[in-house]
Assembly symmetry: C3
Homo-oligomer: 346 residues x 3
């Protein structure tokens, strides 16, 4: 494991940034404004942290033109410093070596198709009809069930389960504990007990999607559950059967989407938010954390629900009043009509 080193000149050229400083200056890593030393490069994206420029010991900073005056050291000037920093940081990421081949402990069906350039980790199980394309990396303990395809250059970090009929695009990244393609929750009530509605569809995940740890995406009942390209799911998310999520939409941790809901492109769904079944959410909708979407949202914009956090004593008093809010409004109306009567009389 050798640590990569880059010069400022090299970084400026590679990412089309403007350099102020010595182009031969060497950068050994990235860090926060607070923790960076003279060997490291950091960034300033949020003006709120501008005051930290005075204290930082960073070797160089990626920042906006407007902020460059407040810093006398070396810097790389970027239109979007966070994006530029993300690209620079990627150079210092310690990606595991990709050594093609199948670990001797893995169990691979003779009816599966594993590319010679793929890497398959310890204790993986690859079942009949599975296809593992070129450059794929399966970490240890992955299960690739029947008729699943893992698209080229995708990476399943470890312990990912594709149950069956799951198709991943290219460069998909999935974190441990995720389960794709389990049965959706389909039940019919038959007189006095449940019967299971067979779940016969699959899951289709577009190129460049990322799926967080312990997230679950069920397969469709009839037809597929679909994530379009560049959808980003955080940890512990639940995507029910036959959901469709538009390209470039991101969902934060613990959010959940119920069956057959359809979410647009470029949406942002906050942590712990919920979207009920069979709804439609337009493109470019933002739902704030722990909100529940109970009807379709046809226009772009930000949506919320809930009440503000308060000291428990104050909250109790307010919440008790909410129980009678309708009656309270009727009382306000009664007061208003008294005045109205009086106005008419006078």
């Amino acid at each position: 494991m050798t640590v990569p080193v880059h010069t400022l000149g090299e970084l400026a050229a590679r990412f089309a940034l403007r350099l102020r400083g010595d182009q031969r200056q060497r950068v050994h890593g990235v860090a926060t404004l607070a923790e960076a030393d003279a060997q490291r490069i950091t960034f300033l994206a949020n003006p709120r942290y501008r005051a930290q420029l005075a204290q930082t010991r960073a070797g160089a900073i990626v920042l906006r033109e407007d902020d460059a005056d407040a810093w006398s050291g070396a810097c790389l000037i970027a239109g979007d410093p966070y994006v530029a920093f993300a690209r620079i940081a990627a150079l210092f990421e310690h990606a595991p070596d990709h050594i093609p081949g199948v670990h001797p402990s893995a169990v691979v069906s003779p009816a599966a198709n594993v590319s010679a350039s793929a890497s398959v980790g310890a204790f993986c199980v690859i079942e009949d009809g599975a296809v593992i394309e070129g450059g794929v990396r399966l970490g240890p303990h992955c299960i690739i069930g029947p008729r699943c395809t893992v698209g080229a250059q995708s990476c399943l970090i470890a312990r990912v389960t594709l149950v069956q009929d799951v198709t991943l695009g290219q460069r998909v990244l999935i974190h441990p504990g995720a389960v794709l393609g389990a049965d959706g929750f389909g039940l019919a009530f038959d007189r006095d007990r449940w019967i299971k509605v067979p779940q016969l569809g699959g899951v289709v995940v577009g190129d460049d999607c990322e799926i967080g740890a312990n997230t679950t995406i069920d397969r469709g009942a009839l037809g597929d559950t679909v994530l379009e390209e560049d959808v980003r799911l955080d940890n512990q998310i639940q995507i029910a059967h036959n959901v469709r999520i538009g390209a470039h939409t991101a969902l934060a941790g613990c959010s959940a989407v119920a069956g057959s809901a359809s979410i647009g492109r470029y949406c942002l769904i906050g942590g712990g938010a919920g979207i009920l079944g069979h709804l439609t959410v337009a493109d470019r909708v933002t739902v704030t954390a722990m909100s529940l979407v109970t009807h379709s949202l046809h226009e772009a914009g930000e949506y919320s629900c809930g009440t503000p956090i308060q000291a428990n004593r104050a909250w109790r008093r307010n919440a008790a009043r909410f129980r009678h809010l309708d009656e309270i409004v009727r009382r306000v109306e009664a007061l208003e009509s008294r005045h109205l009567e009086k106005d008419e009389k006078s």
Copy 2:
């Protein structure tokens, strides 16, 4: 893998449905109204989709008597078309072959008891005192801990963990990532730090239960956590120690039940809903999505909490007022008493 084919006459006879059309007509699969072709059968259960009858190219439809007039093609008439369709769809489900036997990679304790008619997948671990009954299917990567029993005909799809002292009834279906029998969250505060309260109970799951992907059911502290028969749990649900869930109750994804709560029979718990500890919920209670049950519910019926989703700007104004709701009501009361005084005076 051969695709099953059934005739309409056969389906009508098997499920006691009334056929309108040619009983020799062949059905090769199931699909939605929108996607079915002449080879497939579909269904109409929700009258909202009745208009789709005009467009569908389905070979046959399962529907209610009342809807049959609106469709000129072949149909199977059912009292409950969704139930009938569920049974028909099951015929087209591609169940994996059940080949009894233990995969050579599995690690099975000599002190476990595995039926000769059970199937044990790759990398399963079966520990001392475990019992795997007849016809059970354990997919790859299951862990069956000490003193666990998997009842006859049950199916653990893959990567299911029964930690210890878990007893599953017959025909139980568990999806990947589920963890049953982990320690409950029992802590006692001893002056300045926590000490762990030992968790000594087990988990008992009745016949015909289904448990979703990444769902967790903790074992009891003293005594057991219990699911009665035909309980249906979706994905990512948390069931704490010593909870009891009555027969035929269904919980949607991401819901959670805290310790020692007792839920009745035939309840429906919505997605993301929470039930606090030590509460009792009566039979036939419905809790809507993301509601929090903070006191026992002694009567059947539907219960809710929360505020409606709104555009963020409007919501902010309303939420800010909620912080002072009690004071606002006092102001309404003050207005009312002024009028009351005036009425008394006049």
Copy 3:
């Protein structure tokens, strides 16, 4: 598996409790007040259950001085009966034998360092640079990724994933399905699509922490995600990148903490609660179940949000009014100013 037996005299001496009864009386186990028989010891901590003293058939009871009069049988008198009972129950816990050594099926990198006194279960994977200290127990199916350390006497029950750069202190207990050290959810929006912000930090977990089943703790983007000592996490919790949780804080199931939030010491976070990113929560804060913390909480105390659970019909009427709460308050203000005008006139 032999069942341990203890005498009351032995228990009194060991835990410094006052015994009333025969010190030679034997105790074969622990149980609830309702279920204990003459062979078992139980406890009374919550005065609510005092009435059960009349019915219990327990051989002995751990209780407070104040409650001893209401019980004529043998008892152990404790200042905190729940803490005393927790210690006694631990004697009856059936801990698996600790047999040092590596299961032959495990895959251990030659560049890992595994103590001779550690126990490594079936199908574990231990990667380059991992350190497993003395007395550690790794149950089956654990993955210990590159540069992870498992501190002395820690126990990973089964199927725990430490992705990379995770450092556990001593006596840490982790339940199945937990994932520590997966990438945080770091994204930068580059014109029309997301780019991933590399996650380069680690996770540091202090001594005596407990982490529940299917809980996820992401590694830091830059710098580490930190749990101080004796932090207790229930199941299905999500801890995002660069969060810091103070010593002795406990989080109940399904709660979630967003990126870079900092939670104090001795906090109690209720089930399903959420804490937004970059916030600070003071020491000794309690957040009730399913509340959302949207701003920093600088003072100890209890905080809540939400509305009370109600029958759905009543709730619908109230919730509909919440949509217009701001306007309603303006109408109350209008009424008030009419009275004010009148007062001024008169």
